[in-house]
Amino acid sequence: MALSKRRRVLPGFGLSVGYTLAFLGLIVLLPLAALAWKASGIGVAGLLHLLAAPRTQAALKLSFGGALAASLINALFGLLVAWVLVRYRFPGRRLLDALVDLPFALPTAVAGIALTALYAPNGWLGHAFDAFGVRIAYTQLGVGIAMVFVGFPFVVRTLQPVLESMDRDVEEAAESLGARRSQTFTRVILPVLVPALLTGFALALARAVGEYGSVIFIAGNMPMRTEIAPLLIVQKLEQFDYAGAAALGVVMLGFSFVMLVALSLLQRWSRRWAEALP
């Protein structure tokens, strides 16, 4: 971690850091600065007015609430899938493993159309659920499902390497020392996994918050109910309201930033907790 303190085996520290900073600046910071600059056109009063609008609040609530729920689901099932893929050997495992990445590779619009086709009232799954009076497509549930879909690989892929590097001896030791299975899981396995789990959760969350392409197909986009915040941004752009669009972007960025900072604090705390365990 502390790169500067370690004696460096390879030369070129200055050069590589220089490139890193230049690259980050060009690819990440510059667009963000441009965004902030565009957003500044709206002024503080404009921003407050924007935030006070019930539609803005509803959309932000849906985007962040939906993303939070979707990432929690992904954390749970991602852990399960990663566990199965690492710990068990069964025919078709490699295929399953490759499948996990598909949501990464699929253009989001295609994902959105496929999900909608499946969950629409005349679609396969949608039809079955409709019989029980449950609507999925064109409801907030549909938004959540699209968010689960796009965020899923993050949790699995961040957990897998950690699980693979975990020594089974530790579990066996715990068992031979008389730990119950639940104790082995909560006191031996979980502490090691939690930091990676949180990373995966944060990545899935960030992805779901900003997701546009797949969600708009399945959401129905009804104001106050199924309208996500990125769609509001598009609507502002459609009226050539660049400042308003950028301001909403900055607001989303701010929320995301706070959440990611909170998560990384949680992560640090969880590491210490893991180290403090006997």
Binding site: A117, M222, P223, M224, R225, L231
Partner: protein, 338 residues
């Protein structure tokens, strides 16, 4: 591929060697909206042939398609379009506001700079099970209407204004009655897609709704692509005359020196030859002679225009679709107290 390129280069060389070197290659960029893809493929081919015959130069017209508003934004942000052929005048007005073309662009060509028109019609399921004949049928109990979001879709703005205009033009019609009608109409809308094609998909593929408010050309296209046995087109008693406008982007043609070709290209859209192509792609032609030929395809319908009812697109946009405008006040999710 490679062989072809070499052959092509050789052919070019021979052309030059033969002393025929005066033929220039001209490239135009036409930035258009979504449903015109097939239309302009055909139009461009005819125009290129005509230009070649008359002037000996090769014109290649490159196309860019997308949502009308998105396309206008790209041009505003520097996409070097020589001509824009968009869904509504507001989007070209926005370019004029940014100084890319003269503010009087709509007077520079005949017919409000719209060589072809369309209307808003109803696409219903085969046999018209809900008996939808006219606008009032859309707000009967149990009828679901599919239309995209006017905030994001040019086509949806035409839909909205068609409904508004119909209610306004009825005997005893008033602003308040139009407001009430459109408010009621949007209570029957279960999904708001972001674009016209998306709404068509929702209606056709997802089986949502009983009626789709659509461009006439899109309705014909849907019927042709998906079979006449699945959908009927219902033409209401009165609808809006949608005028998709075209314009030369002054700032860009001044830079690349394409003004003459660009202007000729747009004028070509008004010629009998082009009007025939437009009619074949389900756009209503302006020329009476061509309209006559396709009279069976396009049923006569009473129409009103933006200019007649709302002044112009700028005013209509500001009143209805700007943030806090009429659509926000009476559309889905609106706050009744505001």
């Amino acid at each position: 591929m490679k062989k072809k390129t070499i052959l092509f280069l050789l052919a070019l060389l021979t052309l030059f060697a033969a002393g025929n070197a005066s033929a220039k290659n001209i490239t135009l960029l036409n930035v258009s909206y979504d449903p015109t893809r097939e239309l302009y493929q055909d139009l461009n081919r005819s125009f290129a042939a005509q230009w070649k015959a008359q002037h000996g130069d090769n014109v290649v017209i490159r196309m860019s398609h997308g949502g009308s508003g998105t396309q206008a934004r790209s041009v505003a942000d520097g996409l070097p379009a020589d001509v824009v052929t968009l869904a509504l005048a507001y989007d070209i007005d926005a370019l004029a506001d940014r100084g890319l073309l003269a503010r009087n662009w709509q007077q520079r060509l005949p017919d409000n700079a719209s060589p072809y028109t369309s209307t808003i019609v109803f696409l219903v399921r085969k046999g018209n099970p809900k008996h939808i004949k006219d606008w009032p049928d859309l707000i009967k109990p149990g009828v679901q209407v599919i239309t995209p979001n006017p905030k994001t879709s040019g086509g949806a703005r035409w839909n909205f204004l068609a409904a508004w205009g119909y209610a306004l033009k009825q005997p005893g019609g008033s602003e308040a009655k139009a407001r009430a009608f459109v408010h009621a109409l949007f209570q029957h809308v279960p999904v708001l897609d972001t674009g016209a094609r998306g709404a068509t998909n929702t209606f056709v593929q997802r089986g949502m709704g009983d009626v789709l408010l659509a461009w006439e050309n899109e309705a014909f296209l849907a019927q042709r692509e998906l079979g006449k046995d699945r959908f009927d087109i219902v033409v209401p008693s009165m609808t809006i005359l949608a005028e998709p406008p075209v314009a030369v982007v002054d700032a860009n043609v001044a830079k690349d020196g394409n003004r003459a070709v660009a202007e000729a290209y747009l004028k070509f859209l008004y010629t009998p030859q082009a009007q025939d192509i437009e009619a074949r792609h389900f756009y209503r032609p302006r020329l009476a002679a061509v309209a006559q030929k396709y009279a069976t395809q396009f049923p006569a319908v009473k129409t009103f225009t933006i200019a007649q009812l709302f002044g112009d697109w700028r005013k209509a946009q500001a009143k209805f679709f700007a943030d806090g405008g009429v659509f926000d006040q009476i559309g889905p999710g609106s706050q009744p107290d505001r």
